[in-house]
Amino acid sequence: MTAITIAKGLTMGLRAAMEADPKVLIMGEDVGKLGGVFRVTDGLQKDFGEDRVIDTPLAESGILGTAVGLAMRGYRPVCEIQFDGFVFPAYDQIVSQVAKIHFRSRGRVPMPIVIRIPFGGGIGAVEHHSESPEAYFAHTAGLKVVACSNPVDAYWMIQQAIASDDPIVFLEPKRRYWEKGELDEDAEPDPLHVSRVVRPGTDVTVLAYGPMVKTALQASAAAEGEGKSLEVIDLRTLSPLDVDPIYESVRRTGRAVVVHEAPVNLGLGSEIAARVTENCFYSLEAPVLRVGGFDTPYPPSRIEEEYLPDLDRVLDAVDRTLDY
């Protein structure tokens, strides 16, 4: 057992994947000598060389577009997008090419591409550095989308994503990069596309992913003091959703709150609310409530703490669902 950060878990996972398979490549802006602006690829170019850890020109469409060609040649590119807000120049390549080529080719051409995106706010950054674009990708048929929330998942999930033959948008909770956890490299990891109850409870199911898992856990600790028992589920996989543990939980609690940083309107919470309602209709004591960013662009950082869901706003929603 070693204590590692999420960033370190990712670095270790990337290294393990590169060691396991010579076809794995890392590409992106500043991923080489610098090791990425978050140092997640630290040391990899030194050890694996410039052919496998590629500092690219500054253009995201170019990164994803060339990754497609490399994948067609049998490589497994892991593309780093420097910040969430900079994935959009690559949007066309992701949505119309990466997501569709397996389908277009009737399964003949797999697209084993991982798109790593540090996402979310809370780090005091300037515009475009705090976005939560997950719903755009989850709505796109042909992509799989996952988010890690802790160092152990970071380590395993990145390896599983790289091993997958499908294109995966891999979301990293940037404001939690430096949070620590204990890694047991010999333990058997959960599969990639599985959600996990991270705190059992009986009154309300709280669904979160990425950076909000910690917030949800804080809320559940605080709620306990007030005699309310929250069950917290870390979704981990956003597309496909792993609905069974969600339904199972909501059928027990009768109440659910979904938490994410992205704007509520058409955020992940809307899909979860719609599905939970459809599948647990007679178990629901209250409508599924959603806590998320407001339907505004991400605000200047001096007020980002107000924009982002926090413990209080989660508890507020919990109370509102309990009021039904």
Partner: protein, 384 residues
């Protein structure tokens, strides 16, 4: 809007905008069918090879004619004709070695032919039976790409893969490989194509960018896409560009062959601008009379890519009437293959699509599949 009232033209202090307006056009066979020499590029195949090209050109045109007819008869949803661009495609396609890889747009039927793709597979796409019915690894020919310019980056990435596989510059002619990426004049305006130029230059990728400048992007003429001749774009990205007579199959072959060889040897990318003309409509949905004059078409008809090869072969007495008649017959057979094959093509099953999204099926899609199967089954009684 007045842009013209400049008091003093300061243009000169910055030098010329580009390298001049009358670029060289590499030509080895004139529209009249006469062989001419070029100081840099030589055509080194014999008349037998030219007869082979002639056959390719005629058969390719016949594929196009037949597909157009099938579309008119409602058998295809749409068809993108290559009429007039046969030489650009056959000349470049025939310059490829088996180990090279080609990335087409949606109009590269001649290249597909050169790569050995059954043209029925092309028809399937335009019929709406599939989005890409061949295996790119067979024939090393990528799937048609409709989003303008996207494939230029795929091509560049694939070329970077060749570098990593160590199949560049080994000196082994069976092994050294290159990539050719096709796109049109309009595509040169897309960010993706320019990013591909950046990447190819920076990584010295073994790639030939093959731009068919057919003068039009649907209704938009080339002047609206670039102020400088397209082949000059390359220099600013650090690799050479050349303009070739796109209706001269010999010149296209020679130039492409040299550029591919350059790439295979590790000397990096080249941009070829094949100067040609889209003699037909953009697609069967288009009506070019709305935006261009018929005399433009007439002047290009005089430069037809097929008739000049025939004129040459006849003048050289390299081919006789039997030869030409034989090819016509082959063309008729090909047309018949296409027609009957197209009509016999089965529609896909709607239940298939759920399994084609991912390599690893998801529970959600499996569920959607099963529910839809049940739903379809629920009608079966009714329709019986």
């Amino acid at each position: 809007m007045s842009n013209s009232g400049a008091a003093v033209d300061l243009g000169e202090v910055f030098g010329p905008s580009h390298r001049g307006d009358e670029p060289d056009l590499v030509q080895l066979l004139t529209p009249e069918g006469e062989r001419v020499e070029h100081p840099e590029f030589t055509f080194d195949l014999d008349d037998e090879a030219i007869k082979g090209f002639y056959r390719d050109l005629v058969l390719t045109r016949r594929i196009d004619t037949e597909a157009t007819a099938l579309q008119r008869q409602g058998e295809l949803g749409i068809w993108a004709s290559l009429l007039g661009q046969e030489a650009a495609q056959i000349g470049s396609g025939r310059a490829l070695k088996p180990q090279d890889f080609a990335f087409p747009t949606y109009r590269e039927h001649g290249v597909a032919w050169a790569r050995g793709i059954d043209p029925l597979r092309l028809l399937a796409l335009f019929r709406g039976v599939d989005h890409g019915g061949w295996d790119p690894k067979e024939g090393n020919f990528g799937l048609y790409t409709i989003v303008i310019g996207a494939q230029s980056l795929h091509a560049t990435g694939y070329a970077m893969g060749l570098q990593r596989d160590g199949v560049i510059g080994t000196g082994d002619p069976e092994r050294d490989a290159a990539v050719i990426g096709y796109f049109g004049d309009g595509a040169t305006s897309q960010g993706d194509v320019n990013e591909a130029f950046v990447w190819a230059g920076v990584f010295n990728a073994p790639i030939v960018f093959f731009c068919q400048n057919n003068q039009w992007a649907i209704s938009v003429p080339i002047e609206k896409q670039s102020r400088a001749p397209l082949y000059q774009r390359a220099a600013g990205f650090g690799f050479p560009g050349v303009r070739v007579d796109g209706n001269d199959v010999l010149a296209v072959y020679a130039v492409t062959q040299a550029a591919l060889q350059r790439a295979r040897e590790g000397s990096g990318p080249t941009l070829i601008e094949a100067f040609t003309y889209r003699m037909g409509a953009h697609t069967t949905s288009d009506d070019p009379t709305r935006y261009r004059l018929s005399d433009e078409l007439e002047s290009w008809q005089k430069r037809d890519p097929i008739s000049r090869v025939k004129a040459y072969l006849v003048a050289q007495k390299a081919a006789d009437d039997d030869f030409f008649a034989g090819i016509e017959q082959e063309a008729d057979e090909l047309a018949e293959h296409l027609r009957s094959g197209c009509l016999a093509m089965p529609d896909p099953s709607p239940l298939d699509i759920f399994g084609q999204v991912f390599a690893e099926q998801t529970a959600e899609l499996q569920l959607q599949h099963d529910q839809y199967a049940d739903y379809l089954a629920s009608f079966e009684g009714e329709h019986a």
